[in-house]
Amino acid sequence: MLSVEALVKHFEDGDRKRIKVLDELTLRVQPGEFVAVFGPSGSGKTTLMDLIAGFQTPDAGTVTVNDKIVSRFTGRAHADYLLRVIGIVEQPKEMKEGASAQENASLKLLRDDARHANQNIVPLLQELGLGDRVKQKVSKLSMGERQRVQIAQALSMDPKLVLADEPTGHLDPKRSREVLALLARLCRERKTAVLLTTHEPRAVAYADRALTLSDGRLQPYEPEVIPDTELGVPT
């Protein structure tokens, strides 16, 4: 459902030197597949996500989602793509602090049915364990709860693909595991593909496939030997 072919993207550094961030990157994600992409900071993970979401235009290559080339979307077509085809799970720094969990999670639903958006999101929030916090202001929620609201927001329109860019970067190990487990379960139940970028090795346990982004290209992920205690796997 997602096909990335020979994607190339350059940026200019502080000295105006052109740096190739993505070097003919190729990736395919099947419907319902959970793919994790590893890489250290600055390896191009967010750039890849931006290109798939259509926030940036590639210098070469194509991104195709459901047989449509993303870089050709403009205006309303792009808005519809963001609304119905993909869902984005990001770090919750731009959430509406003065609004409730319900109101934040139902932001996408406002476009289709603004009158009933708040009610329609409740079942999903309950699935995510926030049933008793729906009316709570986001400023009163923990980071883990806020991330779950983000997941609800991303899944509210039943997207075909979820892009999760470092969704657990700010969470402690326990909360990270909870969020990854929820994301994996819900997406599998909905047959929604997931592309997750992270630099945490524990995410491997939840993905169908793991890749490493290195030198602008994707390679199969080769884990370091990490003690079980760090992974949180019971001994």
Binding site: F11, V21, G39, S41, G42, S43, G44, K45, T46, T47, M49, D50, A53, F55, Q56, G75, R76, H78, A79, D80, Y81, L82, L83, R84, I88, E90, E94, K96, E97, G98, A99, E103, L107, K108, L110, R111, D113, A114, R115, A117, S139, Q153, M157, D165, E166, T197
Partner: protein
């Protein structure tokens, strides 16, 4: 980002921040664009307040100064003056008597007459001064001419500005009208600033006394004698002059008495304008205060950073004080420039009706106290704006933020109590002491600022409820945005600006409207009693105070369409330090007392008494000063002193020093005159005023100096003149309006620009640019609407306070109304204009790409 501060002070380290470090800290502080924009707004708001205060002060002092300068120039070295009690004057033979009196060095006669000069480019009402050569030389008018040359002059000497406005120069012809007499004349010379200083802007005309006597048909008479006394013999001279004055029924006063009279006459208008200027200055300073409040979160962060790095409290206060000095000085400089432009091109001193009785010029006088006051208040406002909101932050030790719920409830309670208390104080001032309008409006503004957050939250909540059934995406997004804590301070700041601006505009314009309605009503009531009015032309005679021969009256009685012709009389009489307007309608006037002007007494009874003999209606201020009540007697110091009884009390009819109403026959007796000030012509049924006017004009002939006006035309002329003096209020309100619209639009645009990240986030959820623009539009509309409507509500109360104060201070006839129309119009204009302006930056902000703004990973 604040650069590293000093190390934690040790006993040997400095207590004060070095200047270089302070400069670095301040520069870093301004690197944030948001802070820079908001600091510029603070400067703008302060500058507006400084400009308004400066311009209105210059206008007020200029008005007073022009009369003082003229008086001083005319008075010269004279210490005393003998003044006639009426316009016709007294025999100039007295001059030689006075000159021979013990202690008198010189006696300089002057004949003063109101006149109209007509030139190619227009006409002007002037104070025509007939002086003898010694006087002219003493006053340094035409010092290059000999006494004989001056005596032979049969032309006029005009100030250069007046000559230019008439389109004439030396030796060019003009027409002069004095009373009903119209005569051709010429300009003998023009005098510029280098010769007569500020008098070059005055509305005076000089001529030889003999020539003015010819023009005024008043041979052998003078209206004043200025007296120079010998050194050390003033008391002796005064004693003998007083005896002469009592014998000849003249007034002996100090030589500069006219300046004192003018101060009394202009005081109410200046107090009224001062009130409006203070209110607009308060609004201006509050703009600055609110703009500074918007930077409080950044300042708090900066203070916390500085304190965490070891900067002491003293150093922090030092930094803030220096910032206040910089802002205040910058604002004062900008405000001074604005104020200069305003006072030179907009806030011109309009004397209006005061020019009927005083030679008022139009020069600008800027004094050091005016500059110092404006600059000082600008810097003070900067200090208050910066230090006051941060005082508790500065005083308390650094600690993590605690729970806010309890603090919020306490703050709301405190706001309610403070706001309610201030409202109660304002109400008490309105009822018990209306003249304390400045204090009343200050407490009202404080009430507004205290209650605004609560009312604002209520309006937001109401918006949330009202928009729910409609199910619009953009209104829902707007509602969510309005509740965001990160923009709460900005949002309330914008609402506060709108509230204060509309408050100021409604209060000022509402009071102006009440004042105008009262004056309009007076003009209509006084003039509508007859079909036509015949009187000497010229603005000077708008109040019907210039005498002319009534010999033409019998001729007009036979004009077709004329039913009757009655004689109206009037003039000015100095009662103590009040140049009082004497109004004397004929006994047979259908309505001798304008009904809207009577404040005490029964209208029918008072009218019946007035038609009799020896009764008067006295304006409240004069009655209060003379301790008079209805039925009591007083002596009117007319040329023939006469006793009158009080039939009722009234307003001053728009003439600040006060007015006294008697009948025309009593006036004739007291002033020993058969002259008229106007003829009231009643028309036969079926004859329109226009038809009647044409017939009367035809009967008078084309060379007549008498003007024929319908009642409507005459009332309109009154209204035009009286509104001249109120024009400043419209200018002040317009300035506040423009400043508010621009300030709010700019702050909202800045707020939108700062929220690009949030807008991009919403677009990542699939919302289009159009939806985001509509959401911003609705959000702005609610912010502006909330603030402006709260301001309009408080403004209606404010205009009531001001109107009652004006009625008490000025004695003007004021019609008190709610000012609802003014409130609605002001609210609509300010909010709609700001919304229209902000639509553009809103559209730009809504075009932001939905990209995640983090740098590439």
């Amino acid at each position: 980002m604040i650069p590293p501060a000093n190390e934690t002070p040790t006993p040997s380290s400095p207590r004060w921040m070095p200047l270089g470090e302070m400069y670095g800290v301040y520069r870093a502080w301004l690197l944030s664009k948001r802070v820079l924009v908001l600091e510029l707004f603070a400067v703008l708001g302060l500058a507006i307040g400084v400009a308004l205060l400066f311009a209105s002060q210059v206008a007020s002092t200029s008005l007073d100064s022009s009369v003082r300068e003229l008086t001083s120039r005319i008075v010269g070295a004279s210490q005393l003056q003998l003044d006639s009690r009426d316009a016709s004057g007294f025999n100039q033979g007295l001059v030689s008597q006075v000159a021979r009196m013990p202690g008198v060095k010189a006696a300089l006669p002057v004949l003063e007459q109101p006149a109209t000069i007509i030139g190619p480019k227009g006409e002007a009402s002037v104070d025509l001064l007939g002086a003898d050569p010694r006087f002219a030389r003493a006053a340094r008018f035409l010092p290059h001419m000999s006494a004989k040359q001056l005596e032979r002059q049969k032309g006029l000497v005009l100030p250069s500005a007046l000559a230019a406005s008439l389109g004439v120069g030396p030796l060019e012809g003009v027409t002069v009208q004095v009373g009903e007499k119209v005569i051709g004349s010429y300009v003998g010379a023009t005098l510029g600033p280098s010769q007569i200083g500020g008098l070059a802007q005055s509305q005076i005309a000089l001529a030889a006394i003999t020539y003015v006597q010819t023009l005024a048909d008043d041979p052998g008479n003078v209206t004043r004698i200025f007296i120079q006394t010998l050194p050390g013999q003033q008391d002796e001279a005064r004693a003998s002059l007083q005896t002469l004055a009592s014998r000849e029924n003249l007034i002996l006063t100090s030589a500069d008495f006219d300046a004192q009279l003018f101060s009394v006459a202009s005081a109410p208008a200046q107090q009224g304008e001062g009130l409006f200027s203070v209110i607009s200055a308060i609004v201006g300073f509050l703009f600055a205060f609110v703009a500074m409040l918007l930077t409080v979160p950044e300042r708090r962060k900066a203070i916390k950073e500085m304190r965490n790095r070891g900067t002491t409290r003293l150093m922090t206060v030092q930094f803030l004080c220096c910032e206040a000095i910089v802002l205040g000085a910058l604002a004062a400089a900008v405000g001074f420039v604005f104020g200069e432009l305003l006072s030179a091109h907009v806030f011109r001193a309009e004397p209006g009706y005061l020019s009927f009785a005083f030679p008022v010029g139009s020069q600008r006088v800027v004094t050091f106290p005016t500059i110092a006051l404006a600059v000082g208040l600008g810097i003070l406002a900067a200090f208050v704006g910066i230090l006051a909101p941060l005082w508790t932050t500065l005083m308390r030790p650094l600690q993590p933020r605690g729970k806010t719920t309890g603090r919020r409830a306490w703050t709301t309670r405190a706001q309610l109590i403070a706001g309610g208390l201030c409202l109660a104080i304002t109400t008490l001032i309105l009822i018990l002491r209306p003249q304390a309008a400045v204090a009343g409006n200050v407490t009202l503004l404080i009430a507004l600022l205290c209650l605004l957050p609560i009312l604002f939250r209520g309006i937001i909540a109401a918006f949330g409820i009202l928009q729910t059934p409609f199910g619009f995406t953009s209104t829902k997004l707007a509602r969510i945005a309005l509740r965001e804590p990160t923009t709460r301070v900005s949002a309330q700041g914008i609402a506060a600006m709108g509230a204060m601006a509309v408050f100021g505009i409604v209060a000022i314009l509402g009071a102006q409207q009440n004042l105008e309605q009262g004056l309009n009503r007076t003009a209509t009531e006084v003039n509508d009693v007859t079909g036509l009015w015949v009187s000497p032309g010229g603005v000077n005679n708008t109040l019907g105070t210039t005498p002319f021969s009534a010999a033409v009256a019998p001729k007009l009685r036979h004009v077709p369409g004329v039913q009757s012709v009655s004689i109206y009389r009037g003039g000015f009489l100095d009662l103590g330090d009040r140049r009082t307007w004497i109004i004397a309608p004929p006994r047979n006037s259908p309505q001798p007392i304008p009904p809207g002007q009577l404040t005490e007494g029964n209208l029918q009874e008072a009218s019946a008494r007035l038609r009799g003999h020896g009764w008067a209606i006295v304006s409240e201020a004069i009655a209060h000063e003379m301790h008079l009540h209805i039925g009591e007697q007083f002596t009117l110091p007319a040329p023939r002193p006469s006793t009158f009884r009080v039939a009722g009390l009234s307003t001053n009819g728009g003439w600040p020093p006060g007015a006294i109403l008697i009948n025309a026959a009593d006036y004739s007796e007291a002033w020993r005159t058969t002259a008229a000030s106007a003829l009231m012509i009643a028309l036969r049924p079926g004859v329109t005023p226009t038809q009647g006017r044409e017939e009367v004009k035809r009967a008078l002939g084309p060379d007549s100096g008498l003007a024929v006006q319908t009642a409507e035309q005459r009332a309109h002329a009154w209204q035009t003149i009286s509104h001249q003096g109120l024009a400043r209020l419209t200018e002040i309100a317009t300035l506040v309006k423009i400043a508010a619209i621009l300030a709010m639009a700019a702050v909202m645009a800045s707020m939108m620009w700062q929220r690009k990240g949030k807008i991009a986030y919403d677009k990542r959820q699939g919302h289009t640019g159009l939806i985001m623009w509509l959401a911003l539009f609705f959000e702005s509309a609610v912010l502006l609407g909330a603030g402006c409507s709260i301001g309009a509500l408080f403004g209606v109360f404010g205009q009531l306070v001001i109107s009652h104060a004006l009625a008490t201070i000025t004695g003007f006839p004021i019609t008190i109304s709610t000012g609802a129309v003014v409130a609605i119009v002001s609210f609509t204009i300010v909010s709609a204009a700001a919304l229209a302006i902000v639509a553009i930056p809103g559209a730009i902000a809504a075009r932001v790409r939905p990209t995640n703004v983090m740098p590439p990973a």
